[in-house]
Symmetry: C2
Amino acid sequence: MTEFRSIEAATGQPHGPSFAVHGPDDVAAACAAASAAFDVYRTTDRETRAAFLERIADEIVAIGDELIEAAMRESGLPRPRLEGERGRTAGQLRLFAGVVRKGAWQQLRIDPALPERQPLPRPDIRLRMIPLGPVAVFGASNFPLAFSTAGGDTASALAAGCPVVVKGHPAHPQTGALVADAIARAVAASGLPQGVFGHLVGPSNELGAALVQDPRIAAVGFTGSRAGGLALSRLAQAREVPIPVYAEMSSINPVVLLPEALASRGAALGTAFVGSLTMGAGQFCTNPGLVLAIEGAGLDEFIANAVAALEAAAPQTMLTTGICKAYAEGVTALEGNGKIETLAKGLPAAGTQGAAALFRTTAGAFLADKAMGHEVFGAASLVVVCKDEEEVLSVLKGLEGQLTATLHLDAADEALAGRLLPTLETKAGRILANGWPTGVEVCHAMVHGGPFPATSDARTTSVGSLAIDRFLRPVSYQNLATGLLPAELRDDALGDGAPRLVDGVLTV
Amino acid sequence: MTEFRSIEAATGQPHGPSFAVHGPDDVAAACAAASAAFDVYRTTDRETRAAFLERIADEIVAIGDELIEAAMRESGLPRPRLEGERGRTAGQLRLFAGVVRKGAWQQLRIDPALPERQPLPRPDIRLRMIPLGPVAVFGASNFPLAFSTAGGDTASALAAGCPVVVKGHPAHPQTGALVADAIARAVAASGLPQGVFGHLVGPSNELGAALVQDPRIAAVGFTGSRAGGLALSRLAQAREVPIPVYAEMSSINPVVLLPEALASRGAALGTAFVGSLTMGAGQFCTNPGLVLAIEGAGLDEFIANAVAALEAAAPQTMLTTGICKAYAEGVTALEGNGKIETLAKGLPAAGTQGAAALFRTTAGAFLADKAMGHEVFGAASLVVVCKDEEEVLSVLKGLEGQLTATLHLDAADEALAGRLLPTLETKAGRILANGWPTGVEVCHAMVHGGPFPATSDARTTSVGSLAIDRFLRPVSYQNLATGLLPAELRDDALGDGAPRLVDGVLTV
C-alpha cells in the first residue's frame, strides 16, 4: 500500500484526499533528522524552548475551525468536546512552557569541593538532568488533539529537550496533518532545526515497530490498547540498547460506593454515574467500568436511577469501526456470561454507533472470573455487589493496576474509607473522593498513570507537569572548570530562578 | 545442596562454619514477611525511619573488628580499604537518614481547588510519592560492605519506605550474616515488623531468580556482571506484572588525555593512572579500562611511566576464584589479539592473585573490533592511540554506555574538551576533569549510573541521595477530606520542613 485515506467516523467511509504511507526509509530519515537536531535543541535556553512551546499552541489555535471540523469528522466526537480538547492541548503546551522557564526540572545539585576534608578531600560535584534523546510518540485515537500529534507526550518530551517523532494515529490523519504542519511552522518560526519534530503516517503496525526499533530513538510514549503497549514494550526491550516505554494501556477505574453515601444519595449517584459512563461514548481511559457497592440501603435506588438514565442514553458514534466492533464484542461477552445479569442497555445503536450497557454480578462471581476485570473500551460498566466490607476489600486487592480509584463517601464512611485507602494507593495512580474519574485536570499535582497494566511504568505520569521527568536522566560533573560546566551549573547562574540543592540545602 | 561454606579469598579454600542454603520456601517466606510489613513500614513517620537508618549504621559499626576480619578473609581486600568501606556504609545510611528527615523525596505538590474557574471548576488535587513495595537487592562481590547486604541499594530502598529482601552474595556469607544480623537488631530495636528486612543465602542463581519472580517483589537492585544483570532484567520483564530492575553492570570508563595536558605532564599522568588502575586489584566498576590519547608530545612519557609503575605493581588477591579466572582469560584474549600490543605486565601472580596488565592499540583497530570495548574486570587497561581529534571523537561515539568519562586537560585544551563534552554526556553518567574515576563520592550530586550497558536504566543513580527516587512512584489525591489525606499533604502540615510545590510555586 502506498496511500491511505481518512475514514469518516459516522459513516465508516473514506473521505477527503489520500495520504502517502510512510515506510522504512521515511522512519530512518525522520530519526536521522531528530538525532541531528538533538544537540542543538537540547542546548536551547529555557526562554527559547518555552517560547517555542507557546508558539506551537498559538499555531494550533490559529488553524481555526478547519481543525475542529476535521477532528469531528474523523473521531465522531462532538464540537464542544473538541473545542475543549483544543483548549486543553494549547493549555498543556503553555503549562510546560511555564515549567521550562522555572527550571526545577533540571534538578540542579551542587556539592562544593571540601579540600580540607579528612581522610580525603571532596571534589566539586554538580548534577543536572539532560534529555534522553529523540522520543517516539504514538498518539491515541480517543483524544485526537490532546493525546495525539501535539498531545501530552509530545509536549512533555519537547519540554524536556527531546526531539519528537510522532507516529500519527491512522484514525485521524487529516487532524494529525493539520497539527503536524502547525508544529513545523512553530519549529521554523523559532529558528530550530527541522528535525526537532517528525511526523510519520500509515495504517500498519510495522511503521510503529520500525520507529521503536530505530537505534536513534531513546524513549517511547504511547497511549492505546494493552496489546499495542505490550508489543511496543517487547520491541523496546529486545533492542540492542533497550529503551524506556511509557505506555498507558488499560484501566477499569473502580468506583466504590460506601454505605452511608449510598444510603443518603444512592439515586443521585446512579444518575451522575451514567453521566460519567456515557460521556464521549465511554471512550475515556478513566471511564468508570467497575462499581463496587455493599448490599444495603440505597443500592436499589442507585441501580434504578442508573438503569433509567442508561436506558434513555442515545447511542453515540464511536471513534473507529474497529473500536465499535471490539466494544460490541465486549458487551456480547458480558451478556453471554451466566454469572452476569444485564441491567440495562442504551437506545439501540446502528452503524458505527455504540449503545451504553450496564451489568451486575456478585463479588464471589467477580473474584472467580478474571475476565470480568478486563477493560471493555466504551460505555459499559459492571456493578459488583458485595456482601460486606471484607468482600469489597477482596475485590480491590484482586484488581490489576488502575489509573484511578474513586470513593463516594459521607463523613460517617471515613473509617471504612481509611481502611480501603492503603490498598487503593497500591492499585491506582489517582484516588478521588465524591467525583468521577473522567475529566483529568492538567496541573502540577495530577497523576495519570498507575501500576501495570494501567501503564507499563508506574513511576511516572502522562498528564501534568511531572511528566517532563520521564524524558530526563541525571549527569554529574566532577571538578569541571567553569568554562566547561553547563551554564546552569556555574556559580554565576545562582539567582536565575531555578531551584538548586546546594550541599543538601534547597535554595530557590 | 543444603549447606555451603565461605571461601577464603587468599587460598580458595573453605573456611569457618557452614551456611544453610535457602530454597523456594525461604524465598516465599521472606517475600510474604516483606509484603506484610510494607504498609506498617511505609507509613512510619520521617523521624522514625531516619532513626532506624542511623541505628543500622550504629549496629554495623558496633560489630567491630570481627566484621573487618570476616570481610578481609572473604574478599582478600586489605584492612584499610575495608575500614574505609565500613565508614562509607555507615555514612550513606546516615546520609539517607538526613534525606528522609528533610522530606523533599516526597515531592509534595498541592493544586488547590478553584471553585469559580470557568468553564469548569478545578478540584483540589494533591500529589506525593509513595514507595513501590518490597525490593530485592543483589549485593556486589567487590564491595562486601558498601554495595552488599547493607549497601547503597538497601539504604536507598529502606529510605524510600520499601522493605528489602537481600540475596546475599555467596562470596562473602560470613560478612553478609554479620551485617544481616545487625540490621535485624536495628529492626527489632526500632519496633518495626521483622519483615522489613529479609536475608537469603545460597550459591545458586536459582535462588535469585525465584526472588525476582516472586509476585510480591516490586523492584530489583543489582550490582554485578552484564550477564547477571541482563538475566535478571529478562526475568523481571517476563513476569505477569513486570517490575523495574536497576542493574549496574559493565563499564570501561574511558579516560581521554588531551594534548596540552599530555605534553605538560604526561609522565606524572602515567604514574597516577596506574595508581587508579591497580587500586583494589582493579576490581572497581569505575576502573579506567580505556585510555585515549592523540599521538604527540608526552605520550611516550605517559606510557613509559605507566609501564614502569605497572611492572613494579605487586600482584593482588582477587575477590573470588571465578573473578580471578575470568580476569586471566580476559588478559589472555587481549594478549592474543594480533592488533593489540602488550605494553607491560605486573609482577607475576600466583593462586588467586591477579597481575596488572597494560595494552596498546590504534583507534582504527579499536573501531574495527567491538570486543576490544568489552570490560575485563580487574587491573587491565587498553591505551588507544588516535591520529587526531576526529579519531578521538569517533572512538567515543562508538563506545557503549559508561558509568564515567574522564578528561585530563590543561586550560589550552578547553576548546577540544568542549567539542567532546556533548558526546560524553550522552555516553556516561559522570564526567570528570583531571581526576580518576575510581573513588565514588557519596553525596547529593553524585551519579553512579549511565546509559546501557553501564546500567539497565540510565534515568537514575545507585550512589548518592538521588537514588531514593528509584523506589518511589507518584499518587495523586483528588478532593479527599482532610481526615483521609496523608498527613504530609494536609494544610496543617505546611511548615514541617518539607518543600512543596503549591499551585506551581516551590515553597520551603
